[in-house]
């Protein structure tokens, strides 16, 4: 017998115990137990509940100790652990139910680290739009806290930020089982902080967050205007950063463009590596569609995949919505839909194409900048008119896909090259000029 093999040791124990107690007792108390591990001379016996643990301690402890010591004096003691239900039985075949099941499996969230296990790198599609972010993530996992600290990932909604940062967390857990990870949204952080102030346990709040080796904070843009929370984050950041603990942030815009955030916090957010996730290209979209459909057990034709990938613009989340409806269609009808059917069902999904009158845009923008609407159409080159006019051209082109010559002619008969120049200029400036970017954001809000 190999005394370090827990299964063999347990079988030996059972054979001895069986001789000493009545069969009824043996069947009741020993059938569901086992040796979980042997560590430092202590044998850990896993039992199903506290009823068992108490009774083992009361009735069987001396007997078990005697048997185990009989095997080897290396075993100093026995401890009893209650084994979690989840890890006791493997899942077996389930009966066929004609009713559909809720997708509960996707929603098991680990309480101690808040990570959703469904987000892993296995399901993460890497394309040219996110390969930099992916590479940064891998670098962090190789040397956490040292390579890029903090990592700041930004990009529009539905581009996979949350998936990426949660996947980092899940992978980190796998690679470094003894270190602690915690994922939270900035909103949760701020609620937690407010609660701790309310209940007078601010110190415990500080302690709680300083213990993590990897802290992941999602959607930091929501910290805007919450000055006290920002201050708390500032201190937390310093303490984690000084101890080489990795921090990861995500946001829907770059640190520079987050409005109403203290400069010292802004500086710290962008002090490590800042990467953005762009819009996925068609190939990546196709790959995503294929992967998601396969994950749901549906194989789609190449033409269908291409059609879905090209016709659904916007975020990956919207793409997922379409795939889900395709999957649902397959479950209901039994066969994957063909191109014609997908086209039919996609009609419900396609967003109404935005149409807008140039006049409407002009009046809104003029109103925004507080200038006379007529001056936009005039040939004037006054500074306060030029900027709004360029913004109008940019918006008409970018958001409403109006052709360059049309924009030119509608805005007082300008040449299309002037329009191209203006659009390019705004596009360039928007990258560096946070104020301009914010202005355009605000105007977009007005136009909806």
């Amino acid at each position: 017998m190999n005394k370090y093999d827990s299964r063999e040791l347990w079988e030996h124990v059972l054979s001895q115990v069986e001789l000493s107690i009545s069969p009824a007792n043996f069947n009741t108390w020993f059938r569901e137990s086992s040796i979980v591990k042997i560590e430092d001379g202590i044998v850990y016996i896993g039992v199903p509940s506290q009823f068992f643990r108490d009774w083992y301690l009361k009735k069987f402890h001396p007997l078990l100790l005697k048997i185990i010591r009989g095997v080897s004096y290396e075993f100093r003691n026995i401890e009893y652990m209650i084994v979690k239900d989840a890890s006791r039985k493997p899942r077996t075949e389930r009966r066929r139910e004609p009713s559909m099941e809720m997708p509960l499996d996707e929603f098991y969230i680990n309480k101690s680290d808040n990570l959703n296990p469904k987000y892993t790198f296995d399901t993460f599609v890497v394309g040219s739009f996110n390969e930099l972010a992916y590479a940064a993530a891998q670098a962090i996992l190789a040397r956490p806290g040292i390579t890029y600290n903090p990592l700041f990932i930004y990009g529009d909604t539905g581009r996979g930020k949350t998936h990426l940062i949660q996947a980092i967390g899940n992978q980190f857990k796998k690679l470094y089982p003894n270190r602690k990870v915690f994922y939270l949204t900035s909103e949760r952080f701020s609620v937690d902080y407010t609660d701790s102030i309310g209940s007078g346990s601010a110190n415990r709040f500080k302690e709680k967050y300083r213990q993590y080796d990897l802290l992941i904070m999602d959607d930091v843009q929501f910290l805007a205007k919450k000055e006290k929370t920002q201050e708390e984050l500032f201190h937390l950041f310093n303490s984690l950063h000084d101890n080489n603990k990795q921090i990861i942030f995500s946001s829907d815009r770059s640190p520079q463009s987050i409005p109403d955030i203290a400069d010292r916090v802004r500086g710290r957010l962008s002090s490590g590596m800042t990467v953005d996730i762009g819009e996925p290209d068609t190939e990546s979209r196709m790959s995503i569609v294929r992967r998601k459909a396969a994950a749901n057990g549906v194989t789609l034709g190449e033409d269908v995949i291409e059609y879905v990938a090209t016709s659904v613009s916007g975020s990956i989340r919207e793409l997922e919505g379409v795939i889900n409806s395709v999957v649902c269609h397959t479950q209901v009808k039994g066969v994957p839909p063909d191109l014609a059917e997908v086209r039919q069902s996609l009609r419900a999904f396609s967003r109404p194409t935005k149409t807008v009158s140039v006049k409407h845009v002009v009046s809104k923008v003029a109103e925004f900048y507080g200038i006379d609407e007529e001056s936009i159409y005039e040939k004037t080159r006054r500074r306060e008119v030029v900027r709004p006019r360029q913004v109008i051209m940019y918006l008409l082109r970018e958001d409403f896909s109006v052709s360059y010559p049309t924009i030119g002619s509608k805005l007082g008969g300008r040449d299309h090259t002037t329009v191209i120049h203006s659009c390019e200029k705004v596009k360039r400036e928007i990258v560096d000029d946070a104020d301009l970017a914010k202005e355009i954001q605000d105007i977009r809000g007005l136009l909806v």
């Binding site: 068992f52 809720m102 509960l104």
Partner: protein, 366 residues
């Protein structure tokens, strides 16, 4: 051991406690018994099936202290006829117990007390809270029938009980339907979240009184204490799915009907359901009707449109009629709203004006 007890009180206590004795014959024989323990702290009546256990005190005088185990079926059958308020004497000698009530005398074979397990109590309770027993009973009874009966996923065979922000809620699901009941609590309560195996929860609900009870919880065990009595149950230590993400936020079709009408129509239509127990639910917005229909090749078919107020799109979904039936008696309001999110998406049923109870059911494949 010699003890004197009030007959009626003893009958009531045995009636409650005997529910906790193990009914399976395959296990330890002593678990099918009820233990009577006469000690310094009074006379305790105890039973356990290693899932749940209960300790209840009964008034009486102790002549000689001691402890015995009497088979629960025998003790219950004897005591159930005790109706007057006279005295009963229980005397232990050798491996028999002599139960004397008036002129009646019975001698019962006992079970070994040595094998009778102790009741585990939470060691370092993480959370302790007080709650009116009636509220706890209503929470559990409302949802427990929706818990899974299979043990493959232990967390789904349990009732989730949790408190947050002045509400206590109970949730159960078997992944085909889900029930959530919320009540608001006036007293301040720490946040907690525990999983009680559904069967244990139902036993608990049948036992505790309507008055305030104290609940003590640690990771694996939970004790409910009222007066000197204690009930203890195993807890499921597993993660519960974040079910709130399954509850749809927007709907394509909604119908409001009288609950009585719906219940009756469902009963009549279900006669014609097939072997999968399928009934169809049609939202006919133009005709302002919510139609129930079923078709069984061997029996026949039925259709019953109900007058109702509808919004959204017309839609037809199929359901297992039992899943539609379960929640109906649990609504307190006259009318109910059925909200559907489209084909393949869950249907949500709520009472009109009643935010406390939510029932969600998945449709069948067409």
């Amino acid at each position: 051991m010699i003890i004197n007890l009030n007959k009626k009180e003893f009958r009531d206590v045995v009636g409650i406690v005997s529910r906790f004795a193990d009914k399976r014959s395959s296990t330890l024989p002593t678990l099918s018994g009820i233990a009577l323990i006469a000690g310094d702290d009074g006379i305790k009546v105890r039973a356990t099936n290693l899932e749940t256990g209960v300790d209840m005190f009964v008034e009486g005088t102790i002549k000689t202290p001691g402890a015995i185990v009497i088979p629960s079926s025998v003790l219950r059958d004897i005591s159930s006829s005790f109706s007057d308020s006279g005295q009963v004497t229980i005397e232990h000698s050798g491996d028999t117990a002599i139960i004397t009530a008036g002129t009646a005398k019975s001698t019962v074979k006992t079970l070994p007390f040595d094998d009778f397990p102790s009741l585990p109590l939470p060691e370092n309770p993480k959370t302790t809270f007080r709650i009116p027993g009636a509220s706890l009973v209503s929470l559990i009874n409302t949802v427990a029938s929706c818990a899974s009966t299979s043990t493959i996923r232990p967390e789904l065979a349990a009732v989730l009980l949790s408190s947050e922000g002045g509400h206590v809620k109970a949730v159960a699901t078997d992944s085909f339907r889900l029930a959530e009941k919320k009540i608001s609590i006036k007293e301040k309560m720490n946040n907690f979240s525990i999983l009680i195996p559904a069967r244990n929860a139902l036993d608990l609900a049948q036992t505790i009184p309507d008055t305030d009870v104290e609940v003590r919880v640690d990771e694996h065990q939970c004790a409910v204490v009222w007066g000197k009595n204690t009930l203890t149950t195993r807890l499921v230590a597993a993660a519960y799915p974040d079910y709130t993400q399954i509850i749809p936020k927007s709907f394509t079709s909604e119908a409001t009907v009288l609950r009585k009408d719906f219940e009756g129509a469902l009963k009549r239509t279900a006669v014609f359901s097939d072997s999968f127990q399928k009934v169809r639910l049609g939202f006919d917005v133009k005709g302002k009707k919510l139609a129930l229909s079923a078709h069984n090749a061997d029996v026949g078919e039925a259709v019953e449109p109900l007058a109702s107020s509808l919004t959204g799109d017309s839609l037809e979904l199929s359901f297992n009629f039992r899943y539609l039936q379960t929640p109906l008696p649990l609504f307190t309001s006259e009318s109910i709203t059925l909200s559907a999110g489209g084909i393949g998406r869950p249907l949500v049923i709520k009472g009109v004006g009643d935010q406390s109870f939510l029932y969600l059911v998945m449709p069948m494949n067409q």
